[in-house]
């Protein structure tokens, strides 16, 4: 059971208040009609599944209802940071010496 810091509520809360919403930092293409099927499919279906650091989108569903980002280790379940929408992660896999 994760213990999660909501960057909007600025409090540690129990995992059951939150819902995961997949990979973070996926931007919707601004020009969908100009993309090939393959390019569109890449946006639509392809997701990372790293062993180690992962940037995830979470929702404080039973709280402030805000979406936010989380950098989490998929092996140890350690949460390295949570940060607001629009912000960049301060910890990334390359800095940790991972690919």
């Amino acid at each position: 059971m994760l213990h999660i810091h909501c960057p909007y509520c600025e409090e540690m809360r129990e995992e059951e208040e939150f819902s995961p919403a997949g990979q973070a930092h996926i931007q919707r293409p601004l020009n969908p009609e100009e993309l090939s099927d393959e390019q569109w499919a890449r946006y639509l279906f392809f997701r990372k599944n790293p062993r180690g650091l992962h940037h995830e989108l979470w929702l404080h569903a039973h709280g402030c209802r805000k979406y936010f980002n989380m950098t989490r280790n998929s092996v140890t379940y350690q949460i390295m940071e949570t940060y607001k929408m629009g912000a960049k992660p301060s910890i990334t896999a390359s800095e940790e010496g991972q690919s």
Binding site: M1, Q27, N31, E33, L35, T76, Q78, G86
Partner: protein, 1007 residues
């Protein structure tokens, strides 16, 4: 029979003034307050407590703690209060306790199955389960009932549990698991910094090993120190003491799950308080002080009752005043276990001999034993036990542990008890729960916790530190360090440490498998895992059959699979595997322990979340009216919605037909309050709707409504509903009942993550409004009677909404229709819902206004070909598949959600499953929903399935049955026949048609 093994009173833990009567397998016995069921049975000289799982061998009590593999009972006197599988060693005795063996059939003393050879060894070799499951199912079927009956691990209660349970949540600075010397010292040290401390222990009182130790602390018995320390902790406001509380799991981010047994020790039906309480503790720092379990030695016939762990024997003597036999042989690999022989001797019973597997030892305890006149034989081992229901004697022979051989002739010694000690194994279970891999510590020949990412500290026996002085000192240090890590104190303990001097001990020997003069495979059975009857020979056989990974060996032999999770046998099993594979133990590795540490009752885990508290229920404001009027209900999400309103004596189908006809011919009324309602405001609200709906919203004027469909980005329909323009920058969106929460989340997702620049706000208002839909040709006449504005067709057009007063209450009325009839959806503030409903019913009385539920709603909308998202669609259906291209905006500037995906190759196929109507050839036959559709009636199996029925009903209005379905390329197949092979073997024919069966031109809703 009296308590033959109870010795003169010396332990403070046994209250001789309170005699407790209990039964075991129907026979009455007596024990004392302070006993466990196990100590009381041993006091009464009960040897056989169960039969073994596979070989049906008589089994006795081996341990005094959570390791116990044999004394697993069914406890409780009724079918409501019976508990399967508690360990007798951990069950406090109470007056009237009724216990029975779980695994003796027909009884433990005379076992039919062993007599007739039932599933004897040859029928259940190692890998039995594995092989049986791999075989055809029929073989498992033939074994299953025998195994269940013969081996059965207790039976579930057949009646409802009368007890109550609850849960508590805590936050603390330091959570300490285990209240032995290390844990108590840590608690005191941490608590003195002012840190919030919780300390729990699975036993009925704190103290752990100190409760039966004789090694003085500060010149007193260690139990005195325990008493003082606990008393001191009890006075501190920042400390919570939890005895009888097992930490069953250690989870991520320092979450600790504890089951506190509050009334189990008092007896059954203690309804004055909750029976058990689960504590969920989120701790800044966790200290594991779980100690160590003694390891038995593996030797021939080591399961005969009377074979016990050395430390358990000492515990029964010192803590319970019970000596579980008369003539003891102690086999040990270490000095520590000499205590047991000394305890036995001092209790006034005979120690036949100590058999020490080492060549020599000059430790203090060894000297003390010799001084007491106890015989010690070095360089030998007990290689075999004789006896069946009780040990009768042992064969002792010289051994060479390095060669794993017996080096001389065996000599027989009569005795009735064999205590063995192969050293100690740290209790690493909890530290393993969070994924930490244990590491092998050669010095103590045991696994200790490895690296972890948790805020975890370990101290005492768990670290492999066994000298009491070091354990206590480590406890004080660890407590201070953990408190400091939690932000309290200076990180060191300032007080004086209690003084104790440890006996000097010589090195112990690592011995996991005692050799026999015969090969392991021919020697008498040498049990490793008692609960699953796994022997040393069985493990070697598994290795020979190619199972080399310890996880495979575990699954093949069932080693460690019992309710004891292999606490007793795991290390020996791994060591035997390692030896047989020619590897080291660290190379072989260990299996991983997972929660629960010991079995936890479902009642405790459920807590108070049972019956009506299991799941919240939502009711509309008119719910009581529905109840009073005989509604049958169905669950839609958490909502209780009227399903239909049967009149007395009316069957469901009769009620549906009456409700449908009444609505089509006069007027019906539906409680539609559960539809999701989202208030959307902001200057960019309209633009936002353009992006999330498939159709255009730019021109929807104030006072108008529009039906909209939402797709996911992959182009598939995921919700639909009517949205009305309330003001220029304000809309009210309706969603399906079940989709309300998901739609709101979806809107927020896009707004927050992709389009934060749009100024728009979403509020759920589902519960703020009561909604009642009146539908049918007379609906206007009903509304006119109670409404303060002109609702004629000229003044109030189809797909308009107006604000008006209905029955004196401010209302929003939407002229929309889900039935195809003239309809008005009246929305009032929820607390006027009942009032308005009753007023509408009164006004409608002259038209015989008929309440209908969700089922009639489904039939009426299906007659019109209106989809229900989630019933007619399943997340793989586009608007085009539904033949609803009319709901797709062609000129919208923004590439709205889902649009791009419709031109993906796969979504352009013309053989996609498409929504159509089906008319069964037999007009009275209602196709089963979910039935598969084929084009070729006589195709051989497997047939090519081309679709399925999504909705199917009998229409009283039309006089025939009909269905909605998805069929490959169905839109261009109208008029063709399809076939539906049903589960009863028959095949039904139906004709593909338009999904709009009733009033195709839509005249009726426009009047």
């Amino acid at each position: 029979m009296s308590q033959v093994n109870r010795i003169a009173a010396s332990s403070k833990r046994i209250n001789r003034n309170r005699t407790l009567t209990f039964t075991f397998n129907g026979k009455e016995y007596q024990g004392f307050e302070g006993d466990t069921v196990a100590s009381a049975l041993l006091a009464n000289g009960v040897d056989v407590v169960g039969r073994s799982f596979k070989y049906s061998r008589p089994r006795g009590i081996i341990t005094s703690d959570s390791q116990e593999p044999n004394a697993i009972f069914q406890i409780g006197s009724t079918q409501a209060t019976t508990i399967p599988n508690p360990r007798a060693t951990q069950t406090d005795l109470y007056h009237g306790l009724a216990a029975s063996s779980t695994n003796g059939w027909p009884n433990v003393d005379f076992d039919l199955m062993s007599t007739v050879g039932k599933l004897g060894g040859s029928m259940m070799p190692p890998g039995f389960y594995y092989k049986t499951f791999m075989f055809p199912q029929s073989l498992w079927m033939s074994y299953e009932h025998l195994i269940r009956k013969g081996a059965g691990l207790g039976s579930s209660p057949q009646q409802a549990d009368p007890d109550s349970y609850d849960k508590m949540h805590h936050h603390c600075d330091v959570m300490i698991v285990g209240a032995g010397p290390a844990g108590l010292a840590a608690a005191l040290s941490a608590a003195q910094t002012g840190a919030r401390v919780i300390i729990s222990d699975e036993q009925n009182e704190f103290g752990g090993s100190l409760l039966c130790s004789k090694q003085q602390i500060d010149g007193e018995l260690p139990s005195q120190w325990v008493e003082k320390t606990v008393a001191q902790l009890a006075t501190m406001d920042n400390v919570l003491l939890l005895p009888r509380s097992t930490v069953f799991g250690y989870y991520d981010h320092n979450l600790v799950g504890i089951n506190e047994r509050r009334t189990d020790h008092l007896g059954e039906n203690q309804l004055q308080s909750t029976r058990q309480r689960v504590h969920k503790v989120r701790a800044k720092q966790v200290i594991l002080a779980t100690g160590a379990h003694e390891r038995p030695l593996v030797y021939g016939n080591n399961d005969v009752p009377g074979c016990m762990l050395a430390n358990a024997v000492s515990t029964y003597i010192n803590r319970y005043d019970v000596v579980p036999g008369n003539q003891l042989v102690l086999m040990t690999t270490n000095d520590n276990a000499y205590k047991t022989a000394i305890d036995w001797h001092q209790a006034g019973r005979k120690v036949v001999t100590i058999v020490d597997t080492r060549e020599s030892s000059n430790g203090e305890l060894v000297k003390k034993a010799k001084k007491l006149g106890i015989n010690v034989i070095f360089g030998h081992a007990v290689i075999e036990v004789s006896g069946s229901k009780r040990v009768k004697g042992v064969d002792i022979a010289p051994i060479n542990a390095v060669n794993h051989s017996v080096t001389g002739a065996a000599k027989h010694f009569p005795c009735d008890t064999v205590a063995s000690s192969g050293g100690w194994s740290p209790v690493i279970h909890l530290s393993s729960h969070t994924g930490s891999r244990p590491v092998w510590n050669e010095d103590i020949a045991g696994f200790v916790p490895g690296e972890t990412v948790q805020q975890q500290h370990i101290c005492g026996g768990l670290e492999g530190v066994y000298d009491l002085s070091k354990v206590i000192s480590a406890g004080f240090t660890t407590g201070a360090v953990a408190a400091q890590a939690a932000g309290k104190g200076e990180g060191s303990y300032a007080g004086t440490l209690p003084q104790t001097s440890d006996p000097q001990e010589d090195a112990s020997m690592a011995l996991f498998h005692v050799p026999h003069s015969k090969k392991t495979s021919r020697a008498p059975k040498q049990f490793v895992d008692y609960q699953n009857d796994v022997t040393a020979a069985g493990i070697e056989l598994a290795n020979r059959e190619g199972f080399e990974s310890i996880e495979h060996v575990k699954r093949y032999t069932a080693l460690g699979f019992g309710t004891d999770q292999g606490k007793l046998g795991n290390i020996n099993g791994m060591a035997i595997t390692a030896k047989s594979l020619g590897k080291t133990i660290p190379e072989t590795g260990t299996t991983i322990f997972r929660p629960m540490y010991t079995p936890t009752t479902f009642g405790a885990l459920a807590g108070a979340d049972v019956k009506h508290l299991f799941d919240p229920a939502r009711f509309s404001a008119m719910h009581k009216w529905h109840l009073d009027n005989g509604a049958e209900f169905e669950d839609v999400g958490q909502w209780k919605r009227p399903w239909y309103f049967p009149k007395p004596g009316e069957a469901m189908q009769d009620a549906l037909e009456r409700e449908c006809l009444a609505t089509r011919n006069s007027v019906g009324i539906l409680d539609a309050s559960t539809l999701g309602k989202i208030d959307i405001q902001g200057k960019d609200a309209r633009e936002f709707l353009n992006r999330v709906y498939t159709n255009p919203w730019s021109k929807l004027a104030v006072g108008k409504c529009r039906y909209g469909v939402m797709c996911k980005e992959d182009g598939m329909v995921f919700d639909d509903g009517v949205t009305a323009c309330l003001e220029e920058n304000r809309f009210i969106m309706t969603t399906t009942t079940g989709g309300a929460a998901g739609v709101l989340q979806w809107l927020e997702l896009w707004h927050q993550t992709e389009w934060p620049e749009l100024e728009v706000y979403f509020s759920t208002v589902t519960d703020h409004w009561s909604t009642m839909t009146i539908s049918g040709p007379n609906s206007r006449k009903v509304l006119e009677k109670i409404c303060d504005v002109d609702v004629s067709n000229d003044n109030f057009k189809y797909m308009d909404w107006i604000e008006a007063k209905v029955a004196g209450v401010k209302a929003r009325i939407f002229r929309i229709s889900f039935t195809g009839e003239l309809s008005f959806e009246i929305n009032v503030q929820a607390n006027y819902g009942m009032h308005t409903w009753q007023a509408v019913m009164a006004a409608g009385e002259e038209f015989d206004i008929t309440p209908y539920g969700t089922e009639t709603m489904h039939i009426l909308r299906a007659e019109k070909g209106f989809i229900i998202v989630g019933q007619d669609t399943d997340g793989s259906v586009t608007p085009q598949d539904l033949d609803m291209d009319w709901v797709v905006g062609k000129k919208k500037e923004f590439s709205f959600i889902g649009k791009r995906s419709w031109t993906r190759y796969d979504n352009k196929r013309d053989d996609r499953k498409q929504m159509v109507g089906l008319k069964p050839k037999d007009p009275n036959f209602v196709l089963p929903e979910g039935a598969q559709i084929v084009f070729e009636k006589n195709q051989s199996i497997p047939m090519t399935m081309v679709g399925h029925v999504t909705s199917s009903y009998y229409s009283a209005c039309m006089g025939y049955s009909f269905a909605l379905a998805v069929v490959k390329g169905g839109i261009s197949r109208k008029g063709q026949s399809v076939f539906l092979p049903l589960s009863d073997g028959t095949t039904v024919e139906a004709e593909i048609c338009s999904p709009v069966f009733y009033d195709p031109k839509g005249d009726r809703q426009n009047v």
